[in-house]
């Protein structure tokens, strides 16, 4: 088995000029926030189309609201489909969450209890979404600040069931898995080791903020050692799953992101070699 680690970063406007100037070879792909481009015909989209000529693009949404009780909006899905048709992204994703109720968009990735009712809702809505879009989607596990006691499943059981029943994939955010484990007091590997590789389409790595009372998913810092530790633990198993480094607030120079890209690739490679020497089969 050969190694094919693929690591990229979230594309943010502050880095456009640097990327267009140097076309960084260290980056295998870029991930864009779909909503930043799907409603625009202007400069941001033109820039993305230029970058698209050189790199595979992953399209990651924040407003599908796939867990909405009334389902995602038809207009939203129509606009998203047009955007996908234009960009032809390699991986398309959103979050396993809801973002508003009735006419109100609350612009947040909102939590819900992991109950059978919400599982049925997830499967129903995802099936509709995948039918309308004509493609398989990946959905990201959330960072949450409340865990509902009436849940029928653990988070990881719920994620697995959703993917197995709907045919969707998991965008596995290792930072979110760690944040939730710390915030709700369990071992992150309980979650990570329960996720079968066959449902994982992509991995996110990012850095949260420690507020002193809880970990807050801000994507505003370097990836913490604990999350690198989880990548070490999972690298051999997930070695060929594409990775994205996310950084959304207090965005640093592009070279800092490249440092994180190199570190992620180095971990995957070293763990893959170690596993090969140990004759581990994946």
């Amino acid at each position: 088995m050969s190694l094919s680690a693929r690591v990229g970063v979230g594309l943010r406007p502050t880095h456009y000029s640097k990327i267009l100037e140097v076309w960084p070879k260290e980056v295998d792909h870029f991930e864009v926030i779909s909503e930043n481009y799907m409603f625009s015909q202007g400069r941001p989209l033109e820039t993305l189309l230029k970058i698209r000529e050189h790199y595979p693009i992953f399209a990651h949404g924040v407003s599908m609201s796939v867990m909405s009780a009334v389902g995602p909006s038809d207009d939203y899905l129509k606009a998203l489909k047009s955007f996908y048709n234009l960009i032809k992204p390699e991986i398309t994703s959103d979050h396993l969450c809801w973002t508003g109720h009735a006419h109100d968009n609350l612009h947040d990735l909102l939590p819900f209890p992991f109950t059978n009712e919400f599982l049925d809702l997830a499967v129903r809505n995802i099936s509709k979404v995948q039918d309308v879009l004509g493609r398989s989607m990946a959905f990201e596990n959330l960072s949450a600040y409340m865990a509902f006691k009436n849940s029928d499943f653990t988070e990881w059981e719920f994620l697995k069931e959703v993917c197995l029943r709907s045919g969707a994939k998991l965008l596995f955010d290792l930072n979110n898995a760690w944040v939730n484990a710390v915030n709700f007091g369990y071992d992150p590997l309980l979650c990570v080791n329960s996720i079968p590789k066959k449902i994982v389409a992509q991995i996110h790595l990012g850095g949260p903020t420690d507020t002193g009372k809880f970990l807050f998913d801000t994507h505003s810092t370097k990836i913490p050692d604990e999350v690198w530790g989880i990548l070490h633990q999972t690298a051999a198993r997930f070695h060929d799953i594409p990775i994205i480094i996310e950084w959304d607030s207090d965005i640093p120079e592009f070279d800092v992101l490249l440092g994180e890209v190199k570190k992620a690739r180095s971990i995957i490679e070293s763990e893959f070699i170690k596993a090969g020497e140990a004759n581990v089969h994946f």
């Binding site: 909503e35 930043n36 799907m38 409603f39 625009s40 015909q41 202007g42 400069r43 941001p44 033109e46 407003s63 609201s65 909405s68 009780a69 009334v70 909006s73 939203y76 809801w98 973002t99 508003g100 109720h101 009735a102 006419h103 109100d104 968009n105 609350l106 612009h107 947040d108 909102l110 819900f112 209890p113 009712e117 919400f118 809702l121 949450a144 600040y145 409340m146 865990a147 509902f148 006691k149 009436n150 710390v182 915030n183 709700f184 507020t211 009372k213 809880f214 970990l215 807050f216």
Partner: protein, 255 residues
């Protein structure tokens, strides 16, 4: 509790900061239940404020941090967001500012600036098209009904009482602000996408009026015919101004 009921009640708690009794949950870390809800509640105005700040960058500089933030938070409390696209938020900020006459002496100027910045943002997100470079004078010998012209899709025409476009993109230039404040008159402008951004083009009041009729949905020929009536000089003048200012995509003549 159904999924619909859960989301309805959670949304209400999100908006009011109360009514948490319906939910039995473990808050993250050492947070109290109410504090956990606040983590979500505080994100909402913060995101909408960020969106307003991106659109109304110059207005922010003119007003200063304190006033801009106070106005934004008041606007956010009065105008819930309904679009999945944060960039869509704040369309009525210009109208909202007009209602602040008692607080801000320059409310009309501030409203003009907000109107300009909103249209600038809309134009920035429009597709770029190459404008018509040269207009043949032979066109003016044709009857009006044979002339078809197409405007650039990004074109926006707006009435302004103050030349606020002169403030756009500048930082803390008090002298410039005073000049703009002292220049109250009619300052109609148009905005079009250029290859690298947005072009601001002052236009005549006549052209603004004509473009406003067009934007209301009239067909070009119908509009030109009714607006210019049989006045061929006006027709020539309007089309010439549109061409001269590079606001036309193309002009064709049908036999």
């Amino acid at each position: 509790m159904s999924t619909f009921e859960f989301q309805k009640l959670f949304s209400r708690a999100f908006k009011t900061g109360t009514d948490l009794n319906e939910f039995d949950f473990t808050p993250a870390g050492s947070l109290q239940p109410k504090e956990a809800l606040e983590v979500y509640r505080q994100g909402y105005p913060a995101r909408l404020f960020e969106a307003l700040g991106e659109t109304y960058e110059t207005l922010w500089k003119v007003l200063g941090d304190e006033d801009f933030e106070a106005l934004c938070l008041d606007y956010i409390s009065l105008h819930p967001s309904s679009s999945p696209n944060l960039t869509d938020y704040g369309e009525d900020f210009s109208k909202y500012l007009l209602q602040k006459k008692e607080i801000f002496e320059e409310s009309v100027l501030l409203s003009d600036l907000a109107h300009f910045e909103w249209e600038f943002k809309e134009c920035f997100h429009s597709a770029f098209e190459s404008p018509l470079v040269e207009l043949s004078s032979a066109i003016f010998s044709e009857p009006i009904e044979n002339i078809n012209f197409e405007l650039l899709i990004s074109l926006r025409a707006i009435p302004l009482e103050y030349p606020v476009y002169r403030l756009h993109g500048i930082d803390g230039d008090v002298q410039r602000f005073l000049e703009v404040r002292g220049a109250r008159s009619d300052h109609p402008i148009s905005l079009v996408r250029s290859e690298n951004g947005v072009r601001t083009v002052p236009i005549t009041s006549k052209l603004l009026e004509f473009l406003s009729i067009l934007k209301s949905g009239s067909f070009t020929l119908e509009c030109l015919t009714s607006y210019c009536a049989e006045n061929s000089e006006l027709t020539v003048s309007l089309i010439s101004e549109l061409a001269h200012k590079s606001l036309l995509k193309k002009v064709t003549v049908t036999a």
